[in-house]
């Protein structure tokens, strides 16, 4: 509401300031490759299911990071914005894991099929 120092203008337009269109395209290419790899992993014959789960989770975490970091500019944004998103995300993940533990869902994961 009040901007005595006129700092607002300085921080505006940061969205394009750090990331160029070229970066966007490169990120998109990497995302496409990871997605292809993810699906491909599924068809590796005889892959142990715990390894498969691990690989898939790592790859999707990477995709998640790329989209949030570059497309959503969080990598370059103010730390307040980062805290507003990353904190809740961590709580959400912790709660998913706790609920899975309470419902013995981990026991089911590696065994099925």
């Amino acid at each position: 509401m009040v901007d005595p120092d006129g700092t607002a203008a300085a921080t505006q337009g940061e969205g394009g300031g750090h990331v160029t269109v070229k970066t966007y395209v490169n990120v998109a290419i990497v995302l496409a490759i990871i997605t292809a790899l993810e699906v491909a992993t599924l068809y590796i014959p005889g892959i142990p299911s715990s390894l498969l789960v691990g690989i898939l989770l790592v790859m999707s975490a990477l995709k998640f990071y790329l989209v949030v970091g570059f497309f959503m500019h969080l990598k370059y944004d103010h730390q307040i914005m980062r805290a507003l998103f990353v904190g809740p995300l961590m709580i959400a993940i912790a709660i998913i894991l706790a609920v899975m533990a309470l419902f013995s869902a981990f026991l089911l994961l590696p065994r099925s099929h």
Partner: protein
């Protein structure tokens, strides 16, 4: 929300004393909250995974190629979304409108894919909301994601409408950026759903 810059060029009421935009900060707070929303839904799905008593199993019904195509669509739409923002920041309004439209179109395609997927589940696999725990938790989780995408498509189309009506230009880049944050978030939720629900056996 409101943009009063036109009449009060000195004090933009959307900029706080930290120099950050209220609306953008509000959107990030909302996305943090939405993490908990989808977290609870995904937690429910995983808690019930493999506990259905009857009905088809996920392996029986999932069409991985179709879903991979949908996932790629959303990722591509994230790219067009940032391109739209970049164009608007350069004040190329028409280009931005085109990219926004492309984003909305891919979003719509994603939703139609989902409708088709649901239709095949119901008609070819006899999997409905009330078939089994899998049916209930799958449809509700992916359905709420689909609803988020649909909301995003409406939002993007309204922005396109503003642009075509000459009411969107460089000054409104924050509005497009916020719509973009929402859109990318919907994309990352799908990244999580795609891996955790579709790919992990």
């Amino acid at each position: 929300m409101a943009d009063h810059a036109a009449t009060h060029a000195v004090h933009d009421p959307n900029i706080g004393t930290t120099g950050l935009d209220h609306r953008k900060m509000g959107m990030w707070a909302f996305l943090g909250s939405d993490c908990m929303f989808f977290g609870s839904l995904i937690g429910t799905y995983l808690a019930y995974k493999g506990k259905s008593i009857s009905g088809p199993s996920p392996r029986d019904v999932f069409d991985i190629p179709l879903t991979s195509y949908s996932a790629a669509l959303l990722l591509a739409s994230s790219l067009t979304m940032v391109l739209a923002l970049a164009a608007l920041q350069d004040d190329r309004v028409k280009v931005a409108a085109r990219w926004l439209l492309a984003t909305a179109a891919m979003g719509l395609h994603f939703v139609l894919n989902q409708v088709y997927e649901f239709w095949t589940f119901v008609h070819h696999h006899d999997l409905t909301l009330s078939t089994s725990l899998f049916g209930s938790s799958f449809f509700v989780l992916t359905g709420f994601h689909g609803a988020h995408v649909t909301g995003g498509v409406v939002w993007l189309l309204l922005l396109v409408g503003l642009a075509w009506g000459g009411r969107l230009d460089k000054r409104d880049h924050t509005k497009v950026e916020i719509a973009g944050l929402y859109w990318h978030f919907v994309d990352i939720v799908w990244i999580a759903i795609f891996t955790v629900i579709y790919l992990i056996p």
